[in-house]
């Protein structure tokens, strides 16, 4: 017989109350994970995509806020490749296509570029130039399969899906990629690219050197803006940072609501047990031991609710989103992030338990025992 046996039995003595409290905590934690996790997921995926592809510099049209509006001459890529510090370049065209109600990013990549080389195909093969072929991300592939189709139509041009690729980026999971020239033709942007990815030789991958190269590029090609990939990611994910701050606020409010709900339960529990707690004092318990008993009870409820919430947050939402077109945006399972959530839950449980037990233990035990 151990202490957990008593605690768990005590918590589930009032099954409905325990169930409702655990549900409340689970939903709160799930919301927190959704609010904070999705932003984290998007940010990480950006870093992951650029990091994995070893892209050092991104070139886009000068003074163009959005990469979607950026239009460059794709031929610049060949010029950039001639620079002694550059090992490889790849021009890419980005077009946002509407499939049903969803915005699907469509990438045009050069057929022999590292962008295609570094893309892991889960099934099928690479698209062949001029054959009107495309590959799609895993999530878009599932969506198309659900609709029983193997084609995507871009501005009236039908492309056959010949492969499905894997990506850690939620944007790419619900995206399509086709040969650059095919996309240029389909959207009437012949010879154009939205951005150019540049890989430097290893000896040039030093922050100051990269800064110099970006400046050199901007001098050489006055109509472009060159940025280090990490700065580019930071700029492109700025909206996420703002969103993240808002999400953190909402998450914090949710956790406070969860703590208040738990505190409400603990107040009810402390009131209901006030005689029993006074008896424990009479039986030789110390106040600190009774407080610990109570905190443990709150922790058990919080841990069970938190565990369900974390599961729902990561797996449940993934499943629910999987049924919709926003299936790519599932929270990233990150150990530090989960530990933060767990810390917040446990912290709120301790706070929620301490106040009512403090009030109860500070009342006169004899009065409590005698009261009707």
């Amino acid at each position: 017989m151990n202490i957990l046996h008593f605690f768990i039995k005590d918590v589930f003595r009032k099954k409905t109350r325990a169930f409702l409290t655990i549900c409340g905590i689970s939903v709160g934690v799930c919301v927190c994970i959704l609010m904070l996790g999705i932003g984290e997921s998007i940010k990480n995926s950006f870093k992951d995509v650029y990091g994995k592809r070893q892209i050092d510099i991104v070139v886009q049209e000068k003074d163009q806020l959005s990469i979607l509006l950026s239009k460059l001459d794709a031929g610049i890529a060949t010029e950039i490749k001639k620079l002694p510090s550059v090992v490889d370049v790849s021009a890419a065209l980005l077009y946002i296509h509407k499939i049903k109600a969803s915005a699907v990013p469509v990438f045009g990549w050069e057929p022999d570029s590292f962008l295609f080389d570094d893309t892991e195909l889960l099934q099928g093969r690479r698209p062949i130039v001029d054959k009107k072929e495309a590959i799609v991300g895993e999530a878009l592939g599932r969506s198309l399969k659900k609709d029983n189709t193997n084609q995507i139509k871009i501005k009236g041009v039908t492309f056959n899906v010949v492969g499905v690729f894997k990506s850690t980026s939620p944007f790419e999971q619900y995206a399509a990629a086709l040969p650059l020239s095919d996309l240029q033709a389909a959207i009437h942007e012949a010879g154009k690219a939205s951005f150019i990815n540049v890989r430097l030789k290893p000896e040039y991958r030093i922050e100051t050197m990269m800064e110099n190269i970006t400046r050199e590029l901007e001098i050489k090609f006055p109509f472009i803006a060159a940025m280090r990939a990490d700065a580019f990611i930071a700029e492109k994910t700025q909206f996420i940072v703002v969103g993240e701050q808002f999400s953190f606020l909402v998450g914090l409010i949710t956790i406070i609501a969860v703590a208040l709900g738990l505190a409400n339960t603990m107040v009810a529990s402390a009131f209901e047990k006030r005689k029993f707690l006074a008896i424990l004092l009479a039986l030789g318990w110390q106040k600190i031991e009774i407080a610990a008993l109570f905190v443990f009870e709150a922790l058990i409820v919080a841990i069970i609710g938190g565990a369900i919430g974390i599961f729902l947050g990561f797996k449940g939402t993934g499943y629910i989103f999987g049924l919709t077109s926003i299936q790519a945006f599932v929270p990233a399972l990150n150990v530090v992030f989960v530990l933060k959530i767990v810390g917040m839950i446990l912290g709120s449980a301790v706070v929620a338990a301490i106040l009512p037990i403090w009030m109860t233990l500070n009342s006169d035990p004899v009065e409590t025992i005698r009261s009707e």
Binding site: I3, G284, V366
Partner: protein, 227 residues
């Protein structure tokens, strides 16, 4: 009375007073009482006369307004940890049993051991021995709400006996029992007193207590009267 005389008593009180601020009343006035070790003392008196207050003062759950309390000659006010004092030396038996519902008889007894992560097997054995002594071992795994009133009070006494205290403070232990069960409980307490030498201080309205206690005192309006 000198220190040696005080040490022979399990409890001694000198000019004990308790004033309740909330009701602006004296619950006890100048109570001086000696309870020798192994005594079965009956404390009688009308409701609100201060009987229970005396028990809670002896247990260290209340602090006297003035006067002294000695436990085996040791002033109670000098005890650093009254919780440990209660746990080791005192067993409480209440009129309303105060057993934790949904938990079994054995679990109720072992609640006081929850300070340890795992309840030691020796304590479980000890608890079972007390239940056997009180003839309710068969009910050890029965939830307390299923027990009869008499069985509940036996479970309550078994809980009080777990640490083999030197003294049992019983606050109206027969108050919620019919006469037959009340007699049985009084016999149980008498048996504990005789066989184990445990001092018993029993607060009651019941006339029947006279047949079991060594001595009866009365408290009327907070003042102690010998019978």
């Amino acid at each position: 009375m000198n220190d040696i005389a005080l040490q022979k008593n399990i409890f001694s009180t000198r000019n004990l007073r308790k004033f309740y601020q909330s009701t602006q009343t004296f619950a006890l006035r100048d109570v001086s009482l000696d309870v020798p070790e192994g005594e079965f003392l009956g404390i009688r008196g009308p409701s609100g006369s201060g009987k229970s207050t005396l028990l809670y003062l002896l247990a260290g759950l209340l602090t006297p307004t003035s006067g002294e309390i000695y436990f085996k000659g040791w002033p109670l006010e000098r005890l650093r940890n009254k919780a440990v004092y209660r746990r080791i030396n005192i067993g409480f038996v209440f009129q309303d049993f105060y057993l934790y519902p949904r938990f079994t008889v054995l679990e109720n007894m072992l609640f006081s051991c929850l300070r340890r992560f795992i309840v030691p097997a020796a304590i479980i054995k000890k608890a079972e021995a007390q239940l056997e002594y009180l003839h309710i071992l068969k009910k050890k795994n029965v939830p307390v709400e299923v027990l009869s009133a008499g069985e509940r009070q036996r479970a309550c006494i078994a809980r009080a006996l777990l640490y083999e205290p030197q003294c049992i403070l019983a606050d109206e232990p027969t108050g919620n029992l019919d006469s037959e069960n009340a007699r049985n409980i009084m016999e149980v307490l008498q048996k504990i007193n005789k066989e184990r030498g445990t001092a018993i201080l029993l607060v009651t309205h019941d006339e029947m207590v006279s047949g079991y206690a060594h001595r009866i005192v009365r408290i009327i309006d907070g003042s102690l009267h010998s019978c």
